[in-house]
């Protein structure tokens, strides 16, 4: 119970950090890019929108062994704009990005139309991007938003906790796993909005003579919409 109260308090009093782009304009860890002049801490909520930076922009999480944690990540671009957040392949932390308030039935990651979240983790273990725990986190990919799993790490920090509420039917989950070998993706119980299977490193569309090099097997239980 005390743990639950602590989690509630954390969610209730978390500060909201917004993007100003006043630093280098791209690095998550550059405090000058954020409201208040400091990068988000583990108790903060993050809202990326276009009230200060009116154009489309990109935010790169740190490379190296740096692990980033926030209570909530919301990406809400102005219509017609794109905001992309990337956990780069140079990030080797486990997890590279953890988001969550520890509470059940709350959305930890919220992607609105125009939002793109890319998990390209280069970690040797774990999920790269994950909710606080897969038991209580929810990842909401609203229509027009996109999540890209571009890592050899497990998608289990996100895929099992996708929200299926109205408005997510056409949210896109894309697998674009590096390499060209067969990829097995656990499928049981998963529900996706739009599901896209891509192998950027695989054979091009004209290379159909080599189908086994770029294959998804046992993938993908359900698609909605």
């Amino acid at each position: 119970m005390l743990a639950g109260l602590a989690a509630t308090a954390t969610a209730a009093f978390a500060a909201t950090k917004t993007w100003t782009g006043g630093g280098d304009g791209i690095s998550w860890n550059d405090g000058a890019n954020w409201s208040g002049g400091t990068a988000p801490g583990s108790g903060d909520q993050v809202l990326l929108e276009n009230s200060v930076v009116g154009t489309s922009y990109q935010v790169d999480l740190p490379s190296g062994s740096t692990s980033t944690q926030v209570v909530r990540l919301s990406i809400a671009p102005t219509p017609g704009r794109t905001i992309t957040v990337t956990l780069p392949s140079g990030n080797t932390a486990d997890p590279g990005l953890r988001v969550g308030d520890g509470l059940a039935a709350t959305d930890d990651i919220i992607l609105n139309a125009g939002a793109v979240l890319i998990n390209a983790s280069g970690s040797a273990t774990g999920n790269g991007i994950e909710t606080n725990t897969t038991g209580n986190g929810t990842v909401r990919i609203n229509n027009g938003a996109r999540y890209v799993h571009a890592s050899t790490r497990s998608p289990n920090g996100v895929a099992p906790v996708l929200s299926t509420v109205a408005g997510t039917e056409n949210g896109e989950f894309e697998y674009d796993i590096p390499g060209t070998g067969v990829v097995n993706v656990a499928a049981s119980g998963r529900t996706y909005g739009n599901l896209t299977l891509t192998r950027s490193a695989g054979p091009r569309p004209t290379d159909r003579s080599a189908p086994a090099r770029s294959r998804f097997a046992a993938c993908c239980a359900s698609t909605a919409a």
Binding site: P203, R215, C219, C220, A221
Partner: protein
């Protein structure tokens, strides 16, 4: 929608059904389904399977 992009072969081998509520666009190298693999098209209306990839 299930979209299979270029160069990708999608070869599910699940014990449960693949439930599709949307269209399928196969731009890849094939959507290969074992005889033992149930695939259910579950939308209320018409669902379209399209693209140059085989199924």
């Amino acid at each position: 929608m299930l979209r299979i992009n270029g160069g990708v072969t999608y070869a599910p081998a699940m014990t449960g059904a693949i439930n599709l509520f949307g269209n399928v666009l196969d731009l890849g190298a094939g959507f290969t389904v074992l005889a033992s693999q149930p695939v259910a098209f579950k939308a209320a209306g018409t669902q379209v399977v399209s693209g140059p990839g085989g199924m």
